[in-house]
Symmetry: C2
Subunit: 311 residues, 2 copies
């Protein structure tokens, strides 16, 4: 049993690699839900959807988010009805939000809703929201405080980030399936997602760090920073804005005490000694996933590295 922690597009890529190389029904992905939000009266879970669509082979291969072979007819009508449409929801994607909102209103938990989706799509991996309670990331910037999607999508993450608040995190609890998955884990892989706003909320759920410590399983992370840059999104500027070094070493410092090993890119090989000085093992490899073969290869290398870290 392997557990992965993931946010959106970057995390979903490695999660897909893991899904492809592992036997069926042996992968659990715990997914960030702190960038969930409500739009048009519907409950949107961007990271859960990205991971689900990616594992199901439904993800748009160009954008990384949203659904392949998408159309935009509902969006055009909603624009006509006066709605702002900066968050682009296609017709196929819309069905997911309609169904999720319907099931949640009927009393299902987000965990149960996610299970219904993955069963319907025939996924042989378990996707788990990090918690069932609503947690919302708020981003403080010089231009004001924004809800995460407002900062990320509408304002295209151009604002400097001065602070992050996870509203509701104190009510968030480990769910039974998350607890069970961690207890049974032979390895835990922290995917190359934003350490602050994707992995950060997952780790901030009450009991999560303790459960990770108690597994006894090796915990390894894959750096989302390569050559001082985020492969995607604003992680590099966000790290710098919050006083972290935007580098593999900076990521290592954030995860130090939690992980046993860090996978970094060849571009960052010279940081190896500094990271090892933190008490971490290091795997230097090609950490950039350009295609599905890269995802598989990096997944295999990361799993082998985790086995080494367990010794």
């Amino acid at each position: 049993m392997i557990v992965a922690l993931a946010g959106g597009v970057g995390g979903a890529k490695l999660a897909q690699g893991l899904y492809r190389v592992l036997p069926p029904d042996t992968l659990t992905v715990i997914v960030n839900t702190a960038d969930d939000f409500e739009l048009w009266g519907l409950h949107i879970s961007p990271d859960l959807d990205t991971v689900m669509y990616t594992l199901a082979g439904l993800a748009n291969p160009v954008t990384g988010w949203g659904v392949v072979d998408e159309s935009w007819q509902a969006l055009a009508m909603l624009r006509r009805y006066g709605y702002e449409t900066w968050f682009q929801i296609g017709d196929r994607d819309l069905a997911t939000h309609v169904a999720r909102s319907d099931w949640l209103r009927q009393g299902a938990s987000l965990t149960e809703v996610t299970q219904r989706f993955t069963r319907a799509l025939g996924l042989r991996a378990q996707l788990l929201p990090m918690c069932d309670a609503p947690v919302r990331t708020l981003v403080d910037t010089p231009a004001g405080r924004f809800e995460f999607q407002e900062y990320f999508v509408r304002r295209q993450h151009r604002d400097a980030v001065r602070g992050i608040e996870l509203r509701g995190i104190e009510q968030a609890q480990l769910t039974s399936p998350v607890r069970a998955a961690l207890a049974a884990a032979q390895a835990v892989v922290i995917c190359p997602s934003n350490p602050i706003v994707s992995i950060g909320p997952i780790l901030a759920v009450s009991g999560m760090r303790a459960a990770l410590h108690q597994t006894g399983a090796p915990v390894v992370a894959v750096s989302p920073i390569v050559g001082g840059k985020a492969l995607r999104g604003p992680a590099d500027r966000m790290l710098a804005g919050l006083g972290h070094e935007p580098s593999a070493l900076g990521v290592a410092r954030i995860y130090a005490g939690l992980i046993d090993g860090l996978v970094i890119d060849q571009a960052d090989a010279e940081q190896r000694a500094a990271i090892e000085a933190l008490g971490l093992r290091v795997l230097v490899t090609d950490a950039v996933m350009r295609d599905e073969e890269d995802r598989r290869r990096l997944a295999e290398e990361t799993l082998a590295f985790a086995r080494e870290c367990a010794r």
Copy 2:
């Protein structure tokens, strides 16, 4: 100011004819909402939508319901998620239900929601739900009691109808806009919709019949039965099943005491005397609307007939 009462497709056709021949902002259509229902957690108002799409030139010209240039991507996903999809909602149509449900949950009345739609679509006619309270038509058949859309769409109105209940009708009240429209009406046109389940609920709203009597304006109806057959849908069998004669004369008997005149088709010319014996004026014309020109012509003839009835 002209007021029309309408249900779905048949009523929408004449309403469109009236809209085309009348000056802007002089038509109010009061629409049946007793076949509204909830699907996928969304509030669907089939008759309001049909009238709105038809007047806005958005209606699917083949089916008469739904939206032109429609796609079905969301529906296919919802089917994949395990939903029954016998009620066919296209992607463009879905946007309407998402917006309506969102606005209703925010506290808007159905009247206000409908006004937002018609403004957004640039309609120069007022569409009014018959009331803001939820009324639901239940259909008693030998196979059991069904909600209206279950009877009509899912079971394709094949069951014999033994009774109709309008659940919630005792709570339904005239809204201020309906009252104002009727008070200002120079003529009231009952469109060729099903007298039992389309016009019946409108007339059953508390105060509606009294308001119609008090207008002083002529009230004329267009028979939805031609040659003993409903032009569309199950009105003929439903009338017979409930003890009415499925004919123009049967329609006249249902509306007697309420209307001043009835428009019937040439095919039913021989019923003229019997209808006049009920104290009604009769216009015999071509009452079948095959194309938009027919809609305009029948609208003009009906309005001229109403003026005659006023004398």
